[in-house]
Amino acid sequence: MQSAVRNPDLSSRLAAAALEQAMTGQVVFDRELRVLVWNGWMVKTAGIAREAALGRRLDDIFPELQGSYLLSVLEQVVSQGRSFLLSSMLHKELFPLWLTLSGGRRELLRQQICALPLDQGEEGMFGMVQIVDVTQAARRESAMYEAEQRLRTLIDNMPDLVLFKDGEGRWVEANHAAQQIFDVSQGSYRGQTDQELASSNPAQAYILDLFRKTDLQAWESGQVVRADEILQAEDGRELVFDTIKAPIFHGDGSRRGLVIIGRDVTDRKQAERDLALAKQVFQHSTESIIVTDRHNCIISVNPAFVQTTGYTPEDVIGQKPSILRSGAHDSHFYAAMWATILNKGSWSGEIIDRRKDGSTYPKWLSISAVRGKDGEIENFIALFSDISERKAVEQRIRYLAEHDFLTGLPNRVLLTDRVSQAITFARRNRKRLAVMFLDLDRFKSINDTLGHNVGDDLLRVVTNRLLGQVRASDTVSRLGGDEFVLLLLEVEGEDSVAHLARNILGALVEPVRVGGHELNVSGSIGVAMYPEHGQDIDSLMKNADTAMYQAKAAGRNGYAFFSPEMDVAARSRHEVENALRHALLRKEFVLHYQPQADVADGQVVALEALLRWKRPGFGLVPPNDFIPVAEESGLIVPITEWILDEVCRQLRHWRDAGMVHVPVAINLSPVQFRREGLYEIAMEKVKEYGLQPGDIEFEITENVLMLNTDAVMRTLDRLRAAGFHLIIDDFGTGYSSLSYLKRFPVVKLKIDRSFVRDVSDDPDDAAIAGAIIGMARSLKLGVVAEGVEKSEQLDFLRQERCKSMQGYLLSRPLPPDELEAALRQGLRLVPEVPEPSGGGD
């Protein structure tokens, strides 16, 4: 070495030898591209001896170079001193150097060429070319590239997601499936961590976050972790991935990378859930289920089947469902059933089968054929339920729908059906029929007084009595309440119907014993005949109803046949009711006041408020013409409220004017006691107008006392306790009973005008009136005689020491202003001024 350094000649010879032996092509050329150096590699590779090359231009040695890019590069090297690197990657043709392959084939050598200037100062500019054979390297690279492409293609085409992250959690590789599921694009994910990807795609943040949890598990455990991961499809659906995460470590234990493979098992999971659910349904279904194979041999039955049929699975598996047959259906039935199953895929219908214990039962059966993917039948599934109960229930429902639950009689639904059938029959056969409406008299009072149980029992007794009077072909129905309708078929004429009506009324009046009470019942009957009283069901029913009202109006316990005149009357009653409904609103009611005076000193001691209706177009309507209608329709309740208010208002007005320091009496209807709230309203009104309960007297009839229910008692007690005075009106006309006089908190009796009228002429009336007055006195009750018109009557009252009186002898009922005037003029009872004729209230 040292010698060579000191010997330049040796050094350059060694350099030349090294150049000669180099494994690369080495060519040096001058400005004219003439070859100056041509090493051994070139000799061998180009097949051109050094002697043949030296001194020749390169494009002379290689004519292919003429006009080539390489040649221009070589020229630039020597002319401009530029260096170049040329690669076979970008150039098909560089130096025409060939490689001989086995079999004599030739292939262009792949080259990497480095062309650079060798500036030799004064000696001039030279160029040098180094040629490296990169054929092998290119092949290797190409093979590697292809291998990688194959691998890439492989993982990209896997339906599973494949993901490789490096030791720091940065994404290295992700196949198509992974890119899609995480919504990252090709190339953009590389080198990114989950967090970085999440920040550029917030929609995925939650998912990536979840996904990373198992990454950490894998790293921490150092083992493969398998988990179901919830990911999200593009359309937002949740997907379940069966995911495997395998951590890979470097030799020194540091983290190298994480291989993640995930398989979409959403469908499988769903199928598993579906299957589990189907199993649950099969087990817990209340319907019996039989599954058979394609040969219709039973392969499975559910618990409901066992319960319904009594057969255990062991009894039936392997058997045909025909073991359930009862023999109720013939072979044609089953043949038709199977034909339907095979042709249409399913059959359903009612069938009677036999249980294991031999009993038969109706069932609703559905059979379906289950076909496989090839369209061949694989199974039959039969579902059925025992419908014996359902059938019973259906019948029961039908019965309930058509019958009155209380009496078991047909209700309106069934009656309507029967009447229309009967009309059709009668029309076709020219027969007559009768519709009979029956309403029990005063049934409401019984219900209210004795309670619903007694009322119900009474209705059942009545039902039996009615059934006892009619033929089997006739229909007795109850529409509700105490309303019964009888449909009588093929009746002869009105005589026979009248005969039947009398019989029915006769049967009803027999005393009824229910709940320890003996009740006297009567009824009112209205009859409409087909065809003369109506051609259709509606008119027959309506007209029978109208006739029944007529019978009631005529004094109860009677019957009436429909007549057109009744229709008119019924209509006018209807009109009255309608007009009454508006009367309150239109302020058509007024109150008149009739004073009562003390018999002994003639002073006015009380007023009775009397309702008057100023009906437009009709003038002043008498109370008897509208009070019953108001009571029946229930309108009496709001009317009474109005009276209370009006009386209190008027009284307040009078008191403020320094007059009328006596109480005012108000009549209460029995209907009022069927409603709650009388006490509350009375108290409210009294308070509202700053009055005392003692300023108001309530007149009630004996009927009210006869109701004798807890509710009535309570109301009366409360009214009395509050200080209201209770007066029994029309005393002597009802079931005047001393016992209830003791029981009820009344303060005064009012002797009915019918006894007062003839006291001076009729000794009996005088005796009755005298007895009442005496009794009242001994019971320490006040007593008022009403309808006093003559001085003889007053004489009698004085003689009997009756406390007070009311009647024309004192004053007729007066409008408030007239009353005021009379009072101002010192109205009092003056026996010397008799004013005969007319009646009071």
């Binding site: 530029r82 040329l86 690669s87 890439r152 190339g187």
Partner: protein, 201 residues
Amino acid sequence: MTTDWSELERDALAEAFNVGVGSAAAVLSGMVGAEVMLSVPELRVVDKAAALASFGLAPADRVCAVVQPYGGAFESRALLMFTEVKSYDLVRAVVPDHVAEMRMGDMAQDALIEVGNLVLNACLTAVGELLGCALTTRVPSLVKGEAAEVLEQMEGSEMMLLHMLFSIKDKDIDGYVGFLLDQQAMGALKQAVGNFLSAHL
């Protein structure tokens, strides 16, 4: 201190480069077998320290640069730098069958060097012509690494920065050409541009 260049001077220089790289684009088109266009939309002269920000790069960004040492009137280095992703895009555009997702073999790297060599040669030719001097080049090489490291290896304080747009097969790829010059060289270049401008205006 960076040399103060007026907008006119910068535009004139950019235009000189635009003309210069035209021939390189033609050569490249021949090599790639498709039309390649090269353009220089913008030129700046910046302090080396500020160069990264001008490239729109963070110090730790992965980059790939073809470095071309040159000599003659003055010695320095030129470089053509891409972000790693863009470098793959470029190689994929010129040798599509040899670039896997994010891996480049030696052969593919050679192709990238050759492209850089071509472009930088053209730029140096343009500079040389402006300066009226010949610039020689030495063998180019490929440097990969973090942006800050790559620039650190370069000598010189001022950097002439060219934004270079490669349009290949409908794909636009951004690259940056940087010449690192000392103040003297930069002054000479500015002088030359000034002379050119006064001669032509």
